[in-house]
């Protein structure tokens, strides 16, 4: 996967728990164009271990002089959000992926209902720019806890005007999914991003009302490929190596100077297949090549995408 090297140009405290970060490219050039709803995955080096955190791009797709992301500090998790809040400063350098869009607006929809809860508003900010530009019909429904949490309300009112609707829980304003969805014309698509219970309730309501699955969208991120590190022994070349968490097994084998076969590097072509001699744990298959029987059989691995959860896996290479 290709990467972009960016530098933090500005940090803004948006609410008590949310910071907004502005990235510019390290070489001063424009960043790649992207589509509304895209996210990037940040590679954060936390005490020597790479954490990969996806964040929605909330800056305008029409201006790629910079990218913007907002991060809510999740005190409970040990992941990257605390690091972003406490360690990342203006001038910090970060490696990010190219934008990926797993939450794109259907180009054939007649109308779009966007539903956001709290920090789940972020992917919609870039989508709204696209929807306005393409003159597509939409409504935005944004629910948040209390006035202090309505971080982006003013910006949204400016962008959407009468198409925006706000629901402030502390004022007793409740977003009723059934009421909202049951009055929509045929061909409407609905998009939701927010806390899990809200996402699930929205999806359940849409299904209940008989909406086609293809018209119900919720935000998804690319699963970070990295996992635990593990040791590999190449039986034929008699080499032992370690696959660090941020590297694929194929990359680690290549790094050790061994010529391993490959083609697609994405678990589809079958070229990299290796025979497993032994494994004192389990193989975590991520490929689309091996059959289910082969996967459970544990005698084969596709090292371009798959990993092992074990002390040592021995392969015939």
């Amino acid at each position: 996967m290709s990467h972009l090297n960016v530098k933090v140009a500005a940090i803004e405290q948006v609410t008590e728990h949310v910071k907004h970060f502005t990235f510019i490219s390290e070489n001063g050039e424009k960043l790649p164009a992207f589509s509304g709803g895209s996210h990037v995955v940040l590679a954060l080096n936390i005490n020597g271990r790479i954490h990969r955190n996806p964040y929605s791009l909330m800056s305008s797709p029409l201006n790629t002089e910079h990218y913007g992301v907002s991060v809510r500090k999740q005190e409970m998790s040990r992941g990257g959000s605390v690091f972003m809040h406490e360690q990342i400063k203006v001038g910090s350098r970060i490696q990010i992926t190219y934008p990926v869009n797993l939450f794109s607006i259907s180009k054939l929809s007649h109308k779009n209902i966007l539903i956001a809860g709290g920090i789940g508003i972020t992917p919609f900010l870039s989508q709204i720019v696209d929807l306005n530009r393409m003159d597509t019909e939409y409504e935005l429904h944004y629910a948040y806890r209390s006035p202090e949490h309505g971080a982006f309300r003013q910006q949204i009112e400016d962008m959407c005007g009468e198409r925006s609707h706000f629901y402030v829980a502390s004022d007793g304003q409740i977003l009723d999914f059934y009421a909202l969805l049951s009055k929509q014309p045929l061909g409407t698509h609905v998009y939701v991003c927010g806390p899990e219970p809200m996402v699930n309730a929205m999806i359940a309501a849409a299904r209940d009302l008989g909406w086609p699955e293809k018209h119900i969208h919720n935000e998804q991120f690319t699963a970070p490929q990295a996992g635990e590190s593990f040791k590999v022994k190449l039986a034929l070349s008699n080499i032992e190596l370690e696959v660090p968490s941020e590297m694929s097994m194929l990359e680690a084998i290549e790094e050790a100077g061994v010529d391993a076969p490959y083609l697609c590097r994405g678990g589809a072509c079958g070229r990299c297949e290796l025979d497993v001699v032994s494994c004192d744990g389990s193989i975590v298959h991520h490929d689309n090549y091996l059959t289910n029987a082969e996967k459970t059989g544990g005698k084969k691995i596709m090292p371009c995408v798959s990993r092992a959860k074990c002390q040592q896996i021995v392969v015939n290479l």
Binding site: M1, S2, P32, A33, F34, S35, S38, P61, T97, Y98, P99, V100, N101, S104, S106, K107, L108, M134, K214, L263, C264, R265, G266, G267, A268, C269, G270, N288, Y289
Partner: protein, 339 residues
Amino acid sequence: MNQTFKKETFRDDYTFSNSPEAVKRFPFPFHEDEYMYSVNIEPHVKTAVGSITEFTFDIDEHYVAECEDKAITLANDPQRYLCLPHMMDAQWDTLELMMESMSNDYPEQFNLTKEGDNWTWVNKPLGITTKFVFGDESSLPMEPLEYIGRQVQGDWVMLDQRDNNLFADGAIVTSQADWSLAIDVGMSWQEWHGPVPIANEIGVFDRALKYLLNLQLGSPVRRLNWTMTINPRLDTSPENYPIWGPDRLSVTPENVGDKVHLRVELQTLFRLPRSNGMLFGVRGYLISMNELVTNPLWAKRLHRVLKGLHPELAEYKGLSYKDITIDWLSKYDDGTSSE
């Protein structure tokens, strides 16, 4: 780079031929003595100087003649460019990708200057200078994909990604191996691949689609496909079958070397940024049997691949002249290794 462009034709008198350099860089597609469909997709990374994948888009000695042939085909049949209205972003994405890559990679031939959204495109080999406003269709003489597609060798299909599938929702197609854009436009991955034998049963299409749905911006991929064509003809469309179909019957043991061509497609796939769509390129390379056998290893290997070719593949590819070609190639195959 100092490229000279050949004057040649791909119809009527068929004056097309490859220079020795073009033969040398020909993308011979077989890495073993047998062939079956597979998910032969790999990253579209730049390779050695002079090779066909040195740059993102390959501009070679046939560039001007191929673009001229394309213009003739489009003039005779405007349906070779078709695009659904929701693909306008993808059209601009495609135009930008091509103009930026070509002007960076071939600065002697192509030049792009930008002042904000006011762009100037200079294509020296075709003698084109156009000033236009990026994103404003009315500032170009035709829609963006048709405009730029006329200036890049090969066929270009734009895919919309939705419902976990790809849809061929716009394209410029003038050199296809016997499939019809007018029929396929708007179709899904499974629908347009419907006529292909065996590939579906061996899981090739499912795996390839899953892979492509994950295609990342900035990480294009490529694969090779191949077929054979009688005469160096680019436009082998079903629409014009009456013109080229009968040529298959004209092959004799005496004219195999001249008439029978191996046709290799360099297929490239790019994620498009603003539309989140995809661009699929099919860039064809033609080589006559006479040219091909100047490489003794290619001659041996093609002989063996054709001999062992699954009958359903031969039938699908329309190789009714296969046996005459195998006979002709057999004199170049002494049975020794083709490695």
